[in-house]
């Protein structure tokens, strides 16, 4: 896996692969959660969590106030954004876009700074083995089963393979979008008037698309995860270069001043 220069891409590529989650097919059996744990060798949580963590990479959540019979479930995992804030703010390159545009993790490079955990609009990455005093920690999040992935083709992911109802599928992103649009039309015809596709354009286009039966906010998802301007882009695209220019200019200015002064003061001595 080599980091590609996709991190700055603003639109998904034609040969991108994506997971499509269909909330109208999910029975909340949590087979995906178990398969993820097994496949990625993740330990069990000491206490059950209501959110993702560095060792829990996908989680079946439920919409609040919805009857069990009304398809309340939602599969929450890394969305693998095209404009991934975590990749943008990671100072080490531990988080990067792999060749198929998934957000992969190179744990050896991670220094535990945790910026990704604070800048991800979905709150996906977590830190493990944390030492609050020394700052030691390692990031953990869904890596799209990258260790099992071919560099080309659709590949396989554990959560999709384990899903017994076909709520999770893996295919080319373009195909998934087409399938999703048809499915939403069908759901609307069946009376699910709020059915919506989440992830087509959010955060530059997600690689984990979701067919939802209600507004994204009902599932706890941000309506506009990145908005027109985000803090991570202000930080990385304005402040960071500005700082480099300012400090570079200071160094240059000081060096120039040194030579100018030396020359002028010498000349004065000659006079």
């Amino acid at each position: 896996m080599q980091p590609s220069d996709r991190a700055s891409a603003s639109a998904p590529d034609e040969d991108d692969v994506a997971i499509l989650y269909d909330a109208s097919k999910c029975i909340g059996c949590r087979a995906c959660e178990r398969a993820c744990k097994e496949c990625n060798n993740l330990p069990a949580e000491p206490v059950p969590l209501s959110d993702l963590s560095a060792i829990t990479w996908n989680l079946i959540k439920q919409r609040k106030g919805v009857d069990q019979a009304d398809w309340p479930f939602f599969n929450f995992q890394c969305m693998h954004c095209t404009d991934a804030a975590c990749v943008m703010v990671c100072p080490t390159g531990a988080l990067y876009k792999d060749k198929r545009s998934f957000v992969a993790v190179d744990e050896d490079k991670c220094n535990g700074c945790g910026y990704c955990t604070q800048f991800c609009p979905f709150g996906v990455p977590g830190l493990k083995d944390i030492n609050l005093i020394t700052g030691e920690a390692k990031v953990g999040k869904c890596i799209f089963c990258c260790q099992n992935q071919p560099q080309e083709g659709i590949g396989r992911v554990a959560c999709v393979e384990a899903c017994p109802t076909g709520a999770l599928t893996l295919d080319w992103r373009e195909n998934q979008l087409e399938v999703a649009r048809d499915r939403i039309a069908q759901l609307k015809a069946d009376g699910h008037s709020k059915a919506v596709l989440y992830g087509e354009s959010e955060a530059g286009g997600l690689h984990c698309l979701s067919i939802l039966l209600d507004e994204p906010s009902a599932y706890g998802l941000p309506v506009d995860p990145q908005g027109p301007i985000t803090f991570s882009s202000i930080w990385q695209k304005i402040i960071q270069p500005l700082g480099e220019v300012a400090l570079g200019a200071t160094v240059l200015g000081v060096i120039t001043a040194f030579f100018v002064t030396r020359r002028n003061i010498r000349m004065e001595e000659v006079e």
Binding site: G93, Q118, E136, T250, V260, I265
Partner: protein, 243 residues
């Protein structure tokens, strides 16, 4: 200090040394430097993409650990100074405040520092405007870096993400101001051909009377006499240029 020719009784040069900085001031200054430099370097490793390889994995953990160790002393220094010498501490803060002579200094500084023109500089106190500027920026950034750094260290996950974002941004901006000021301060103290005396004072606590008279007239002569000398020097400079 007196320089005397061998075998004679005659003094050639007499340098009178006068105390400028207290032992505590010098100790504080150098401990501040000794902690500021590693903090700046380890911080910049995370900041500058060119240094990315040093921020990765074990090296990165070490860098972050050094940042944390250095910051404990860096953060405690002013507090310790305040505990040990509260009156001096307040005096130092007051000394950093600007007055109208500082504006005149800034206006003449360019030709003075770059061109070495000894045109009449407004009389300076024990600290000149540049030193004040450095002190003031170090004070302000100490507060900003401290508050934002504490939130970044202990508040990750505990404070709202939006607040954390602001902390990171302000930490960066304060760092840019502090490091830029430090670079200029370092240049003037170590490399500038006219400014050797500052470094001597910070090392040994003393300065020569002649240097103090020229560069820190308000401190050396007192405000009234310094003002008088300054006005005379200005008149002289004007009459020289009109001739």
């Amino acid at each position: 200090m007196t320089v005397r020719l061998k075998g004679t009784e005659r003094d050639i040069v007499t340098i009178r040394w006068i105390p400028k900085y207290t032992t505590m001031e010098r100790l504080g200054h150098w401990l501040h430097t000794a902690t500021f430099v590693p903090l700046a370097i380890t911080g910049l490793i995370l900041y500058v993409p060119l240094l990315q390889s040093l921020s990765q994995g074990q090296a990165g953990l070490f860098v972050r650990l050094v940042h944390r160790i250095a910051v404990v002393l860096f953060g405690l220094l002013p507090i310790l100074y305040f505990i040990v010498q509260p009156r001096r501490f307040i005096m130092s803060i007051r000394e950093f405040m600007f007055d109208k002579d500082d504006i005149g200094w800034v206006l003449s500084a360019f030709s003075y520092y770059l061109l070495g023109r000894h045109a009449a500089m407004p009389p300076q106190g024990r600290l000149n405007t540049g030193e004040k500027m450095n002190g003031l920026i170090m004070c302000v950034t100490w507060v900003v870096l401290g508050v934002t750094g504490l939130v970044m260290w202990f508040g990750k996950g505990a404070v709202p993400a939006g607040l954390f974002h602001w902390m990171v941004l302000m930490h960066d901006l304060a760092m840019i101001a502090a490091v830029a000021m430090f670079l200029v301060h370092l240049f003037l103290a170590v490399a500038h051909p006219l400014m050797w005396a500052g470094l001597v004072s910070m090392h040994f606590g003393v300065t020569s009377a002649a240097y103090a008279a020229e560069h820190h007239a308000r401190w050396y002569y007192g405000p009234k006499r310094a003002r008088q000398l300054y006005e005379e020097a200005k008149k002289k400079a004007v009459s020289e240029t009109s001739h």
